[in-house]
């Protein structure tokens, strides 16, 4: 029974100053607010408070003795904090937590609560002891920091959002322009088609066919740039593969055979149009040559890097006929030479690969060297 009565030390605490033991006197006199509760009574009521507690909370002693401490809580008290304290009390462990409390006059303050069970030597719970500290100042500073951080984060988020919208608008615009370019190319080929169907003489028809094929080469460039979702680099091998397959199909019945040996090479998109026009012109020359000879079974197309800065595109026949060079119209030759000048490329008109006749072009992979 001695242990159960141990809280009665509070009687001694309650005793007038000077009469209790020195410890009790110290607790009574300290400026640190303190309470003791008795878990042996229903709802764990307060059995002792010191003057500092009364000063902090604005209550009088008779108004708090016998009550549970939760009367300090109010509308904005965080229920998670209350639950944490309840859990600590139930499991008889100590807890340090900041909780929003209210004085008797209703003004809120931040309470840095430290609460711990007091047990006897056998581990039996005797009472709870708590100290309260008004940390409103510190808490306000903390909250200011959090608020400031939230404000900055909100500002950053808003700015990011603006930039994303701007980027999206730019991307949409790019897609819109891309879309119009493709539509216009389609319209141009339709216009050429109309004229070609009206043309009655062979020469005009041939001219318009050449024009159509060149427009189709440009069309293939734009299809590819979009399809690979890379509007910065142009896949030369992919272009040649696609263009040659269509051209062979379009011209020959049965189609001219294609032997392709294409290394993956991409060039700056700025060169896509002239490179495609030159490559397609050479492919058409090779196909025309094969068909005209009547004996050629296939043509070979190859691209290979020859150094860090150069790659070589070659067309070759199967060697059974006269050289390809004999099948070239003078204006085709000057068209290719013109593009070669722009691209800083070198054309080898009359070459051989084994028994095959070839035409090869050496092209720069990146920026053509700027003439000084």
């Amino acid at each position: 029974m001695e242990a159960r009565d141990a809280w009665k030390l509070t009687d001694r605490l309650q005793a007038p100053s000077g009469k209790g033991d020195p410890f009790a006197a110290a607790v009574r006199a300290t400026r640190m607010p303190m309470v003791v509760t008795d878990p042996g009574q229903p709802d764990n009521p307060i059995v002792f408070v010191n003057d500092a507690f009364l000063q902090l909370t604005g209550y009088e002693r008779h108004q708090v003795i016998g009550r549970n401490c939760r009367f300090l809580q109010g509308p904005d008290t965080d229920q998670a904090a209350v639950s944490a304290i309840r859990a600590a009390v139930e499991s008889k462990t100590d807890i340090a937590i900041d909780i929003l409390n209210y004085r008797r006059d209703g003004t809120p303050f931040w309470n840095a609560l430290y609460l711990s069970p007091v047990t006897d030597d056998d581990g039996e719970l005797l009472f709870f002891f708590a100290s309260q500290l008004d940390v409103t100042q510190r808490k306000r500073a903390e909250l200011d920091v959090i608020e400031e951080r939230d404000r900055v984060e909100a500002a950053v988020a808003e700015r990011t959002q603006e930039l994303e919208v701007a980027l999206q608008a730019r991307t949409d615009l790019l897609h819109e322009v891309d879309h119009r370019v493709k539509n216009n190319l389609q319209l141009i080929s339709a216009l050429v088609l109309i004229e070609r169907r009206k043309a009655t003489d062979a020469a005009t028809k041939a001219t318009l066919t050449t024009l159509r094929e060149r427009v189709e080469a440009l069309s293939a460039v734009h299809r590819l740039l979009y399809r690979n979702d890379n509007v910065v680099r142009f896949d030369v091998a992919g272009f040649i593969r696609e263009f040659a397959a269509e051209a062979a199909q379009a011209r020959g019945k049965p189609p001219v055979g294609l032997k392709l040996d294409l290394d993956s090479i991409s060039v700056a998109a700025a060169f896509a149009a002239p490179v495609a026009l030159m490559a397609s012109e050479l492919v058409r020359i090779a196909i025309t040559h094969a068909l005209a000879s009547g004996t050629e079974r296939y043509i070979s197309l190859s691209i290979k890097p020859t150094s860090d800065a150069l790659y070589r595109f070659c067309i070759a026949d199967d060697g059974t006929a006269e050289g390809i060079i004999t099948s070239i119209e003078p204006d085709q030759k000057s068209f290719i030479e013109l593009l070669a000048t722009q691209l800083h490329a070198k054309v080898h008109w009359n070459g051989y690969v084994g028994p095959s006749h070839s035409i090869c072009v050496d092209l720069p992979i990146d920026e053509p060297p700027r003439g000084g």
Binding site: H175, Q186, L187, S189, E216, S219, R223, Q249
Partner: protein, 146 residues
């Protein structure tokens, strides 16, 4: 074997309609009707007696082609989109067989039609898939072509 397709064309540019008619004709097919708006497409297609619809995404009344494609596919008319902006087409291709990318060439369209004849009339298609035609993912898987 019946290799002629009767084609309904939904395209707001009259020049491109005309070009397609020539492409279809020269490839041995027939344009049986056309529309330039969603309304025209949905009212004319059911009576056109078509085997296939070629549908542009941007029509005279806005980017309504996807909806047109869905409606025609729901009527049981096979649809192929023809567009310069494949991004507008939903992942399931809105019920369409595939996409022909603009700008297309005469040969490209002819090759695509060769494939589509067997795809529409006697699936699965035997002709190889031409590069200018992108199949809807579900069909590409069913027909095991890529």
């Amino acid at each position: 074997m019946d290799t002629q397709l009767r084609v309904f064309v939904v395209e707001d540019e009259v020049l491109l309609q005309m070009q397609l008619e020539v492409f279809l004709d020269e490839a041995g097919h027939l344009m049986v009707g056309s529309a330039t708006t969603m309304h025209e497409a949905i009212t004319r297609a059911p009576t056109a007696g078509a085997d296939l619809a070629l549908v542009d995404i941007h029509l005279a009344d806005g980017p309504t082609g996807v909806e047109v494609g869905r409606a025609l596919a729901d009527m049981g008319l096979p649809v192929v989109f023809m567009t310069a902006n494949a991004r507008r087409i939903p992942a399931d291709f809105s019920g369409a067989i595939g996409i022909i990318s603009k700008p297309y060439s005469q040969t490209g369209v002819a090759e695509a039609l060769k494939f589509l004849v067997s795809a529409v009339k006697h699936p699965p298609p035997e002709a190889p898939l031409p590069p200018c035609l992108t199949l809807a993912p579900a069909l590409a898987e069913r027909w095991r072509v890529n």
